[in-house]
Symmetry: C2
């Protein structure tokens, strides 16, 4: 142990030895040069700002100082930075040529130069300087007693101009503080677009002064006031982030139609003989806020002038809240059922020579273009808006792939070839709870397709999407982070930055550091486990959660009806995450053992089995006073049973037939318990 | 082990055996009768509301259902409750005679009756029903597989009508979500007053439309918009909580005077010969937002008509934001230094026959009474406002005690005897980090003093105070909770409910349950420890934190200058809390051992020593890559050294002289390291 300590001391305290591989930068910068020597931090450390930056730099530098202070415990003397050139002799000099404009194509580059007694950040705009400050924070190193920055030069700029995250606040409303902390996380990851999915079947979330019915009838009281929206837009602006609002039409219309059923497409055929005053023919259907997950038929009526009247008035009220140049109108997953069954709409199609529902939807969407243009906004929509007549100004948001029965990436290629700008979200659906690898290696730039330089330039970037059918304010962060940071790297860093091992290593530190911004992805796990354990010791639950992953895709909620919008999300699956920690470690142990069956390697594998046997025993004891542990037990038993037998296998003492052992392991490939699956199943199989 | 399991099963699953002592109710109700049998919970469980309640009941019942859902994982079918008598056959029937009025003296009583197939809550007002719902949640029991309520009858009402918490948002600004989650906690503890200390030397926190300078110059950009204030007042109202705003005058005036130096009392005497155009005599001083903790001289000028003009305009803008009947004007800690040195003010005193600064302050305060009355508000102030001329309408907020050189409780007695209504905060300063016992046993009703019934009635209740010199949004909850829950019980429950052991046992469950409301007092400890540990294993830090307590009183920040408002509060002391967990357990082990030196009892004590020896070793290893661990090591070493020796003492193997052993233990009585002290020192001493 003493020897180890000496080794550790040698490794950690010799400050000059930092190598590139030791840096936990993410997204990885375009150019990093490490030199010998360090900049040592102390309480006199001060910052000075020169040039012509936007005033957002002052708040950003103040926050930077507080974060550095929090990490190091150094009592910096400098408090609030509010002026240019306040401390000309400061150790950190930031110079920006011009005020950064929030939006696409802005110069976000920066040069960070760390010398032994001076640090400089030079950037064209303050937006670049903000990125430089994040990189500087990530450069922080320490030995056993102090903190320092390694001398270095970093030149950096983003590969794509659209590096976004979408959050759906309709299915589960996400309060202001949830949005704000995630904006902080986006900024830390150098992401620059927050796509705010504000309206869907499950609720309308924007305060409407001229159309209060949308709030009174279609929000369950959960919405953002206009002041809160402006406040969030300002908060985003201060962090270099563009906010793109979305009002999803004409499908996903349950909430809108709950307030305004008169613009719905559904027809109710009245049969005679009722007391309803001889009403003949059709009547207006009623709608309700949707409580389930899925695709629903409520759709706006594209043949009704009132539809456009209302939408125009809505845009008139909503657009001024968002200074950005883009407005997302959704346009996805309209199956047209209610259109098909409405004779009036059928007639309208005929009259306007619209052969298909897709053409009818294009007709509808085209009416929105001038409504938005009036407010200086460009229309953006999910890929379904792409048809031959769609305005070339529209931005196409690609999202579908194998799950939807189409070739992944194809819609993006179609869009750019047809002259549209486009953003890739296929492969970036973090709510599906797929492993980080699948997102990290998902390049928005299509492979194996010939694209001209012009076409390539139309690929604006990508966007992670967080649909919230199964996500509450308590759990959303653990569904977003740290995986979204890997997407941030894909969108910022060079195309060839794809080393999984390096990414995983850096991601661990990045994930930990997100905590200082208030992100709850780590801390809230304990909250959920304590509730499940009924305030008993959570250790065994925690250990088991480290090999369990919530069911992927939408398998946790097949049919969309088990979990309604007000169902409990305080269950074991809610405490588990993708990329279960111990599963990866176990897989490495198995691989090592299979490569070399040394006693040491065997012991490593056996240690896992022994742990899981203990976990099962302890979970059983825990469950005596914790009903919420019960659903977990059958799966823990399966892992226990396989572990017991595989321990014997390791020692060549198993008397089980191969087929029976196989069965035992196959039982671990289960999706039947507690909405989770074992992350170790594939590795267990390797031991067969 | 199997035997233990059987015992446990027998104990937990036999649902009918619940005894009063097993209930974790807090505050303890006035009358509890337990019967045989249970109400079993299942997904069909529904709620129905009848009578004439305020609509706040609908949201309250919806939140109740979600919390019950979250605890039990039962998928209740009922979603949102929005109407009276929606489900007449529901299992839980709530009836309220009338709409509850937010304020003092409202009937908050309720009767909860749990039968095997029906639960009823009867209350005069919905405010009582809200309390009944909290009690019902606390009545939840479980066996190993299911949840139930024991059949019972509870009649309950509060002992005091003012059960408050003050939060200082000036010294460290506390964002909206911090306030909201703490309002939820107050409601859960049946507290009904939120005293919002909005203005002090360190910042003005209210958006002012007519006097924007207060925000522009005196808030560092950290303030509540008027909409946010209204929103919080509404949020409080929905939870049965009155909001009492405070603008602290005439002392604690640095922020106000930063914006309006012209109404300050400080005199600057100009000496001739400057370039300042022959200005002679006095000039206006400048002020700055205070960054330190302490009592400062900036004070409003009571002789200046402009002072009253400004305050009147401020009240005109601020009062309408708060529908409640009370407005707190502070009035504390005005030392009058700037008054004494200002000739104009001295002249004013003479002219108005005001013999002392205290009389001058009363003159000042009396000018505010009509300004507030105009808006239907009664003036409230800290006890310093009490002088012979003070209006009898004023509410006196008692706070001083031994620390301030006066007899604890005396000012309260003085106030009621002079005919004032009064609220007790002396003994309820939770920010001082004293043990829960000191607050729990602090009865607002004076002991050993003869008071008439009328005088007793003037004791409205009490208020916990959270001053935030050393408290950030990350740490505030762990400074408030769970100790404030013990104060809630003191203010609600019968006078003779004072059993410490019972309280401690119940408090543990109450503390855990507060997590479901978003309180962060448990989860954020890990955040701070991970930062200190530099993302290494936090186990040893956590173990050590369980015997360490942050320095009490204001000893952590002697002189008020070490920790400024922007200093780091991410240190070991910030992870520690009052009533350190293991210290109490160790003290019990020591007492048992001293009572009976059996091998078993000895082993229990020895286990602690061995743990602390290991902790020291592990902390040393941790510190190799974690500079923030270094300040903790010397104290851990002291505990290690004492533990090593005391292990020998237990075995009669110590060769140390008594004096040397004593010295070793006395070293553990240290306040020199990491701003914490050892909670186990006194128990160690017992082993001498």
């Amino acid at each position: 142990m003493k020897y180890l300590l000496v080794l550790l001391l040698a490794g950690v305290t010799s400050s000059a030895q930092i190598k590139k591989e030791q840096l936990n930068l993410m997204p990885w910068p375009q150019n990093v040069v490490l030199n010998d020597g360090n900049f040592a931090l102390n309480k006199n450390f001060k910052v000075n700002i020169t040039g012509n930056p936007n005033p957002r730099i002052f708040g950003a530098v103040t926050r930077f100082l507080r974060r550095l202070d929090g990490r190091t415990g150094i009592f910096f003397e400098q408090g609030f930075i509010t002026k240019l050139n306040e401390v000309p002799t400061a150790e950190l000099q930031i110079n920006c040529t011009k005020s950064g404009k929030i939006g696409l194509y802005e110069d976000e580059s920066y040069h960070l130069d760390i010398k032994q007694n001076k640090i400089t950040i030079n950037a064209t705009s303050d937006l670049g300087a903000l990125h430089g400050l994040e990189t500087l924070l990530q450069m922080l190193q320490n030995n056993s007693t102090s903190f320092y920055f390694p001398t270095s030069q970093i030149s950096d700029f983003p590969r794509f101009t659209w590096r976004g995250l979408m959050i759906d606040v309709s299915r589960h409303f996400q309060p202001v503080d949830v949005i704000k902390r995630n904006l902080d996380a986006l900024a830390a990851m150098k992401m620059n677009v927050f796509h705010w999915h504000l309206v869907d079947d499950q609720g309308w979330r924007i305060e409407m002064k001229k159309h209060p019915k949308l709030i009174e009838l279609a929000s369950d009281g959960m919405y953002y006031t206009q002041e809160e929206i402006k406040n969030i837009v300002k908060y985003a602006d201060e962090r270099g982030i563009l906010v793109v609002p979305e009002i999803d039409v004409p499908g996903h219309g349950s909430a809108i139609l709950t307030a305004y059923p008169e613009i719905g497409s559904k027809v109710i055929t009245l049969t005679g003989g009722t007391s309803e005053k001889n009403i003949q023919g059709t009547a207006i259907a009623t709608y309700g806020i949707e409580r389930n997950a899925g695709i629903f038929s409520p759709t706006l009526d594209p043949s009704n002038p009132k539809t456009y009247q209302l939408l125009s008035e809505i845009f008139d009220e909503v657009c001024p809240l968002f200074p950005g140049a883009y407005f997302h109108i959704g346009g996805d997953e309209n199956e047209g059922k209610d259109w098909d069954s409405n004779p009036k709409i059928q007639e309208f199609k005929k009259k306007n020579k619209l052969a298909t529902n897709h053409e009818l939807q294009t007709y509808f969407t085209m009416q929105l273009v001038p409504m938005l243009k009036k407010h200086g906004k460009q229309l953006m929509g999910w890929e379904e808006i792409l048809t031959k007549n769609m305005s070339k100004d529209a931005i196409i948001h690609a999202w579908r792939g194998a799950n939807e029965g189409v070739v992944a990436g194809q819609s993006l290629v179609d869009a750019v070839k047809k002259g549209y700008k486009t953003v890739q979200s296929n492969g970036f659906y973090v709510d599906l709870l797929y492993p980080v690898e699948s997102h990290y290696l998902n390049d928005p730039m299509p492979k194996g397709v010939e694209l001209t330089a012009e076409e390539k330039a139309r690929v604006l970037g990508g966007e992670a999407t967080m649909w919230t059918e199964l996500v509450t304010p308590t759990t959303i962060d653990s569904r977003l982070w740290p995986r979204t940071a890997a997407i941030a790297e894909r969108l910022w860093s060079a195309e060839d930055v794809t080393d999984m091992a390096s990414m995983r290593k850096r991601l661990e530190t990045v994930s930990f550091r997100l905590e200082e911004l208030g992100l709850t992805h780590i801390r809230n796990k304990g909250v959920i486990l304590r509730n499940i354990a009924n305030n008993q010791n959570t250790e065994s639950l925690n250990e088991f959660s480290n090999v369990c992953e919530p069911l992927k895709g939408y398998k946790r909620n097949i049919g969309g009806t088990e979990y309604q919008m007000y169902s409990p999300f305080t269950l074991f699956a809610d405490a588990c995450t993708s990329d279960s920690k111990d599963s990866l470690a176990f897989d490495e142990a198995v691989s090592q053992y299979l490569g070399n069956k040394s006693p040491e390697n065997k012991a490593k594998v056996a240690a896992f089995f022994n742990k899981w046997i203990t976990v099962y025993k302890n979970l059983g004891e825990l469950s005596v006073n914790a009903p919420l542990v019960q659903p977990v037990l059958p799966l823990a038993k399966k892992l226990n049973d396989a572990s017991q037998e595989l321990l014997l296998v390791l020692d060549n003492k198993s008397t089980l037939k191969t087929d029976d052992l196989k069965k035992l392991i196959e039982l671990c490939d289960s999706k039947d318990h507690a909405d989770v699956e074992l992350g170790v199943y594939k590795s267990l199989k390797k031991l067969m």
